[in-house]
Every structure is written in C-alpha cells, then in structure tokens.
C-alpha cells in the first residue's frame, strides 16, 4: 500500500455523522422503535412459524432500513474526502438534497446486501454452529435479516472501498451509529444463542427465534451506544 493513500484513508477514518436535518434526526430516533416494535408484535407468530414470519418481515425491515439510509445517512458521494476512491459510484458532489440521487445508491446497497452479504452471512452463520443439514430456510432467512440489519447502511455510507471494508472487518473503523448497529446486531445474535441449550423445552427456544430476537435487540442497543456513548472510539485489539 502506498504511504500517501494509506495516510489519506487513515485520516478519513472518521465516524459517520448523520445528516443535520429535521427528518433525519426524527427518523434516526424512530428507527429503533420501529425495529423493536416489529419484532415484539410478530413474536408470537415468529415462535409459531418462523419461516413465514421472517419472510413476511423482510420487506418491512428492508423499507425501514432504506428510509434510514436515504433520510439520515450521508451517501458515499457526500463524504468530506472528495477525490477518487476505488469503487466509488460516479455521483456528483451535490450535497444530498436531491432525493433521487440517493435512491440509486440505496437500490445498489440493497442489491449488494441480498446478492453478496446474505449468502456470505449464511455461510458464516453456519460456521458459527447453525444447523447445516436441517432448517435450511430458517437459517437462510435469519441470514437475510442479519444482512439487512448490518450491511445496507454500510454499503450506502462507505461504498465498495476495499481498504474501508477491510478496516470495518478488522474493527479498526471508529464506532458510530451505523457501525454500532452492525456490530450490535452481530453481538446480539451471538448472545441470543445462550438460551438454546437450556432444558426448559419451550417453543421459543427453537432455532432461530432467540437469535433473531437477540439480533434485533443488539442492533438497537448497538445503534444507541454507537451513536451516543462510544461515538468516535476505536477498538484497540493489538
């Protein structure tokens, strides 16, 4: 890596700020309520028939996330460092007033989410211990929801910039609201696996109910923590 590109990407590794507008702040606060509410209201049907419930919820969650991206987040084209980043979509430097200029990045983000993130997360979830030979649809839909909660806003904000994604994967990116939501969803899903081995033999212990609930709870907690408490912090691993 050439040193000047490296320093530039390091410099521009700043936490992502939300757009400063009324709808943006309003929706940023509404979004966790919507996410949690959706899960709480559909909990009973999630326990009864996870596949249909998750399938039915996916468009709703996708729409919520899409509105969040469009209304609240700065697109890749609006980030301060304007010059060439590899993979940047050729959007003009218009400061995100044009709603239509945001729809295409949103659409691309969701396409990437469904085509790229969901299968990858499906494999990762299986590697983490999800059933491989049974419950295919359950695991697939869980991975889809995980992808919808973790990746659209990251694609929207960071584009397909390889160094940035490498930093995201290696936890070097500073924490902010969107990154916090993604991390929170992953950690929440992981923590949600705790009740599964208990011998209470309840219906809600079956796969994937607890991990889905954990994922949503974690996403909301992560978003709030990332947006207010730990904003700008960097995880120090080494």
């Amino acid at each position: 890596m050439a040193p000047d590109t490296e320093s530039k990407t390091l410099q521009s590794a700043k936490p992502i700020e939300l757009l400063h507008s009324q709808p943006s702040l309003f929706f940023a606060n509404l979004q966790p309520i919507l996410l949690l509410g959706t899960v709480l209201f559909s909990f009973k049907s999630l326990v009864a028939d996870p596949v249909r419930t998750l399938l039915g919820l996916a468009p709703t969650i996708a729409i919520v996330q899409a509105i969040y991206c469009v209304v609240c987040l700065p697109s890749t084209g609006d980030v301060a460092a304007p010059t060439t980043k590899p993979g940047q979509k050729k959007k003009a430097g218009k400061p995100g007033q044009d709603i239509w200029a945001k729809v295409i990045p949103t659409f691309l983000s969701f396409t990437l989410t469904i085509v790229l993130s969901a299968p990858l997360l499906y494999i990762i979830v299986i590697l983490f211990g999800a059933p491989l030979t049974t419950h295919h649809l359950h695991t697939l839909l869980f991975a889809l929801h995980l992808a919808l909660l973790t990746t659209p806003h990251l694609y929207y904000v960071h584009g397909l910039d390889a160094p940035t994604w490498l930093r995201l994967a290696s936890l070097q990116q500073p924490i902010d609201e969107s990154y916090g939501m993604s991390l929170g969803a992953c950690v929440g899903a992981w923590v949600g696996a705790i009740p599964i081995p208990l011998d209470w033999d309840r219906e809600w212990q079956k796969w994937p109910v607890t991990v889905v609930v954990g994922m949503y709870a974690g996403a909301v907690v992560g978003k709030l923590a990332g947006g207010y408490l730990f904003k700008g912090w960097k995880i120090k691993l080494a």
């Binding site: 590697l127 211990g129 290696s170 992981w190 081995p197 011998d199 209470w200 691993l237």
Partner: protein, 693 residues
C-alpha cells in the same frame, strides 16, 4: 435408560425402571382368576407410571418376607403392599410390625433414643407436626397404642393403617437425611480454592497490561463461573466452548487483518482464508461427536456418517497415520538417524500402530471394518492385541529415548533464538530438503506424543488429529501474522500476542475434549482403550491409559501450547503452500528479528541508565513466555475449581446434585490435578525447558 443408552441422568426415562415379580404363585393374588388390571396409558401427568410406584429399597423387606428371613438392619424400605396378599391379615400386621421395628432401629440411631420413650398421651392427628423427630415420635406412639401383646383381630385395619403411615413417614425422613454433609469442611476447601484463585489473579495483572483481549478473556471467565450454577449448562458445557471459540476466531481474524502495521507480511486474502478455514474446521469438529444430554443420539459424523461410509473413515485414518509417519521421518528423526533409517523407523512405527488400530477396531467395533483389509488381519492374527499394543508402546518408548538422548547431546544450544550460533550440524545432517525445518526436542516429541494419543483413540476419532494439526498451523499463522513484521517486538506486543495464544489454546483444549465425545457425565468415560497392552489387573497402567484416551485432545493441545509459546509454527511452510512459491526471505524473519533484538539489547546495555535511544528499548522481558502462558491457564483452572466447589456447596440439596454437579466436580478434579498440574505444568514445562536450553 434414555434413547441414547444413557442411564446416568435424572430424566423420567432413566429413573423409571420396571419391577416385575414372576411366579406361578402370583395367580392366587389375582383376585380370583380374573387377573389384575393392566393399564395402557400412564397415569395423568406422568410418563411411565402405569402401575404402582415403589421405592427401589422396598424390594429388600419384601424379599426378606418372601424368603422368611429377617429384614436387614439398615433397610429403609417398606413391604410392597400388593404382595402382602400372600399372608393372612394377622400375619400381615406382624410382618409390617417387624418392618417397623427394624426401621425404628435406624430412626433411633439417627435421632437418639430419648425422643421415642413412652408418651403419656397419644395424639389423634400427627399431620400438623414438623417432619422429622416429632412426627415420627407421634406416629410411633400411635402404632404402639394399637399393636401390643394383647391386641386382637378387631384392630387389624387400624393397625395396618398406623403402621403404613409410620413407615412412610420414616422412609421419607430418613432418605432425606441420607446425605449429611460435613459443611465446615466444604467451606474450608472453598477457602483454600479461593486463595489459589486470588493469588492466580493477583499475579496475572503484573504480567499483563489491560487490553481488549484481556477484557474478553475476563468475560469468558465470568460467563464460565456463572454457568457452573445452572444444571443445563453444566450438562451442555460443550455448547459454551464451541460458542466462545467461534467468536474468538472472529476476534483473531479481526486482529490479524489489522492494516496499520507497516508492511504486514501477509496479504489480506491469506488472512481471511486462514480464518475461514480455521472456523470451518472447528465447525466440522464440533459435529464429530454429539455429546451432552439434550441432543444425545442425534446424528453426528462419528456415529451416523462413518458406519455407513466406512471406506471414507479408513481413508481418513490411513491419511492420519501417513501424515504422522511423514512427520516422524522428517522432523522427529531428522538429524538423529540417517535419512533412510529414519524413514524405515517412521514407517515401522506407523505401520505397526495402524495394524494395531485395525485389529482393535475389528475386535471392538467390527461394523466399522466390515471385511476390509482381510489379508492384513489374517497375517497379524497370531499376534494378540495385547502383544501388538505393547509392541507399539515399546516402539514409541525406544524412539522417544533415542530422540531425547541424541537430540539433547547434539542440540545443546539449539533453540529458535540461538540456532544461528549452532554449528549447523542439524541442517547438515537433515539433507532431506532445503526448507529450514525447526528441529528441536519439544517438536520431535510432539509427533511421538501424537502417535501415542492416536493409538489411544477410538477409530472414529482418529481423523480429528489431522484437523487439529491443520488448526494448529492456521492458528500459528494468524497468531503471528500481525507481529511478523515488527522488527522490535515491544514487551506489550509480546505479552498481548502470548495472551492470544494462551486463550486460543485454552478454548481449543476444551472444545477438543467435548468434540472427541467427552461430557460432564460419568457415563461418557470411554474405557475401550484403557486396557491396551494390559493383560492383568494393573490399576496404575489402566489409569494412565484411561486418562490418555479420554483426555487425548487436551493433552495434544497442551503440547501444541508449548509449540506456540516457543514460537514454532511452520509459518514458512504454510505461506509457501498458499503462495505457491518459497518465500525464502520471510522464513528467516524471526532470525532477523532476533538479531535486531540482540543488537538493541547490546546498545541498551552500553548506554546504561542514560538511555539515549529515542524509543525506550527495554531489555528482553524477564518473564518467560511459558510463565505467561501457564499463568493464563492457571487463572482459568483456579477460578473454575472455585466456582464448581461453590456451586456444589450451594446446591448440595438440589435434585441434580449427584447426577450433574458432583460428576462435574470429579471431572474438574481430573482437569486440575492430572491435566493442569501433571500434563500442562509438569510435562509441558519439561518440554519447554528442553526447548530453550
């Protein structure tokens, strides 16, 4: 027994055996030829209660009565009521009274004689009294009021009723006091364990700076401690380890992928695929054997896949043995024996071990062999299994002594740090190939140890050692990746790197124990390999072999921990596999690092107190990596011991105390004393010491 064949649990299937009496004489009890009722459905709310339910100890007085013998002195059972139909009513009362007298003897021994002296007034209702001495005294008074030498047949019914009430109350009271604990000793032991845990923790921070990984390790410790108080999690402990290990691998990947170190020697692709492969191997290993109670009997690789694909199993076993033999030839005997002799020796060891495994599996689980390799088995038929096992052990022993003696003499100053000064006798002797294979005693012995453990493992679990081998190399690769390029590894870096390695070893140790079929139930102890080579009754030998076969995975990883600590890793070999070409510069990097470190040390010592170098260069850390590794493991062991002791003490009246918590305590003792003190510290320390001599 439950559907998995386990009869050590407390589920209804395991605690509801049927008691059947067979005799033609029972026909006269059947209510005049009509027979007794045989219900098809269990009683409401139960799973297996079709007929009357009695205590197991009720068999004793019943048999005594049927055989005409007195009831044994310490019996706590009551005569089984339906069988009393053999006697006349008066005889029934006499039998019950005899039973009651015997039980009274036990009651008086427990509560003392004074409480049961003659009462002045007999109460009408004993139900409101406290259970225990008072209730029993009351009921005994009522019995004595009815049954006395002058009694007549008019009080038979009352007498029977009173006697039954008394017997039932006595049985219940005495069964619950059967476990009277010496609580003060329990607390004393907990205090000692707490001292051990506290001293381990206190010495920990002086060795470690606060770091994110330390925090994660702390989270693991706390979760484990809390888990010990829940019976479900003790029974399903494997899920905790699998769950934590997956997350840890993710953290390992995130750390290895760090891009802000100058010139990270490994490309992000290598790091990503290594981490993915590590995780995939882990996922395969955890489905190898299904353990624990909840999912016992569900499909897994060893019991579902292999019996139907035994050829695949034997291909994998042959691959494991071949890989081991190759490592024996290339690493263990390299430099000690000429190349052709070492090949022959390695082949001999490998083949004899394999033949033993084949014959043993044929004897132990023929459905896995199914007629394969008939010629080999016929040829080796004259040698019985005991002889074959002894031959393998003897071969291993000879090889180990040879390696120790010769390697110790030649390798006097050899270690990764100073092999530059070594007169290169090793590399001259090992003219096999040009790659600089690190040939030191711990590594040589590791291969012999692996062969020993493989001999002690069931056939289905043998391929797991291939998986572990690959995991170790991937781990070394990921573990060393971020530090590969740092020319001066600061103390902080070294310590953090050591903590990563120790935690990885800890997690993989426990995961491997459960992946090989171990669990926290006594019923999962595998005795099949405990008698290899033992023909008589030899407690010591059988005990050692039993430990080796059940803790094979952890012992292997303990030795692997020594390897990681000493900085071995074959990373050069691995990266050359990936990149397809020999990166000859990189595999000498540790040599360059060492030179630089020596250089800096000399400079520091020259400058003395006035340290004029810009960045503070400390002399090489005085705390050896081995001590850091061991202290990390000791903290875990001490804390887990403390937590298990605390949970056993707090839950000593719990329903599952004897089925779940005390087996866990027994296992914890084996882990702490035999594995940690014996293997980890004892043998591991010995290996490390020889490695840095």
């Amino acid at each position: 027994m439950n559907s998995a064949g386990n009869h050590g649990g407390s589920a209804p299937g395991e605690t509801s055996p049927v008691l059947v009496f067979l005799s033609p004489k029972l026909q006269e009890l059947g209510g005049g030829g009509g027979g007794a009722e045989c219900p098809v459905r269990p009683r409401e709310g139960t799973e297996f209660e079709f007929f009357d339910k009695v205590e197991q100890s009720d068999l004793v007085p019943t048999l005594a009565a049927l055989l005409g013998t007195p009831v044994p002195r310490n019996n706590l059972g009551i005569l089984i009521a339906p069988l009393l139909g053999f006697w006349s009513e008066k005889e029934r009362v006499q039998l019950l009274y005899r039973n009651a007298l015997q039980v009274m003897g036990v009651v008086k021994a427990t509560f003392g004689d004074e409480a049961f002296a003659d009462a002045e007034r007999v109460r009408t209702n004993c139900g409101g009294l406290d259970e225990g001495r008072e209730e029993l005294a009351c009921r005994w008074d009522r019995v004595r009021a009815v049954v006395h030498p002058d009694w007549d047949t008019s009080v038979i019914e009352t007498a029977t009723e009173e006697l039954n009430e008394f017997l039932r109350a006595a049985q219940e009271t005495l069964s619950s006091t059967a476990s009277n604990y010496n609580v003060s000793r329990l607390y004393l032991a907990i205090a000692v364990a707490a001292c051990a845990a506290i001293s381990a923790l206190v010495s920990f921070p002086t060795l470690w700076p606060r770091s994110t990984k330390g925090l994660l390790y702390g989270v693991v410790l706390v979760l484990y401690g809390m888990m010990m108080f829940a019976s479900s999690y003790v029974e399903e402990e494997q899920h905790f380890w699998y769950w934590t290990t997956s997350a840890w691998f993710l953290v390992l990947y995130a750390e290895s992928a760090h891009t802000d170190l100058k010139a990270n020697a490994y490309s992000p692709h290598h790091v990503f695929f290594s981490a993915a492969l590590l995780l995939a191997l882990h996922r395969l290993a955890i489905r190898w054997n299904q353990t624990g109670q909840k999912h016992a009997g569900e499909p897994d690789v060893a019991h579902t896949f292999f019996p139907t694909h035994h050829i695949v199993l034997w291909i994998l076993i042959i691959a494991t043995y071949s890989h081991l033999s190759l490592r024996l030839a290339r690493h263990t005997f390299a430099g000690i024996l000429p190349i052709n002799i070492s090949a022959i020796a390695a082949a001999t060891l490998g083949v004899s071990a394999f033949v033993f495994k084949l014959n043993f599996t044929q004897a132990d689980a023929p459905e896995l062999v199914q007629g394969l390799a008939r010629q080999i088995r016929e040829w080796s038929a004259p040698f019985d299994l005991v002889f074959q096992a002894r031959a393998v052990f003897l071969g291993l022993g000879i090889a180990a002594s040879l390696v120790i003696v010769v390697s110790g003499a030649v390798n006097r100053h050899s270690g990764p740090r100073s092999s530059e000064q070594c007169p290169k006798t090793i590399s001259e002797l090992s003219n096999a190939d040009t790659s600089p294979v690190l040939t030191d005693l711990p590594k040589r012995l590791h291969n012999l140890l692996t062969l020993l453990l493989v001999t002690q493992t069931r056939a289905q679990n043998v391929p797991l050692f291939l998986i572990y081998e690959l995991q170790l190399r991937l781990l070394a690769f990921l573990h060393l990746a971020p530090y590969q390029s740092s020319s001066v590894s600061s103390t902080q870096n070294r310590r953090a790197k050591s903590l990563t390695g120790s935690v990885s070893i800890l997690l993989l140790t426990h995961s491997s124990f459960y992946a090989m079929g171990g669990s926290n139930a006594i019923s999962s102890i595998d005795l099949s390999n405990a008698y290899n080579g033992v023909s008589g009754y030899n407690i010591l030998a059988v005990g050692v072999l039993l430990f080796l076969s059940n803790w094979a995975g952890p012992i292997w990883w303990a030795s692997a921990g020594v390897q990681l600590t000493l900085g071995y890793g074959d990373t050069s070999v691995f990266s050359s596999i990936f990149s397809g070409r020999r990166e000859s510069g990189k595999d000498r990097r540790w040599v360059q690092d060492e030179r630089k470190r020596l250089h800096e040390t000399i400079k520091y010592e020259r400058n003395g107190a006035a340290n004029k170098i810009g960045t503070p260069i400390r002399p090489p850390s005085r705390v050896s990596p081995w001590l850091q590794h061991i202290s990390c493991m000791t903290v875990f062991r001490a804390l887990s011991l403390l937590m298990v002791m605390a949970s056993c003490t707090a839950l000593r009246t719990h329903l599952f105390i004897w089925t779940v918590f005390s087996p866990k305590y027994l296992y914890t003792m084996a882990w702490c004393i035999v594995w940690h003190l014996g293997v980890n510290i004892g043998i591991g320390g010995l290996l490390y010491w020889t490695g840095v001599e």
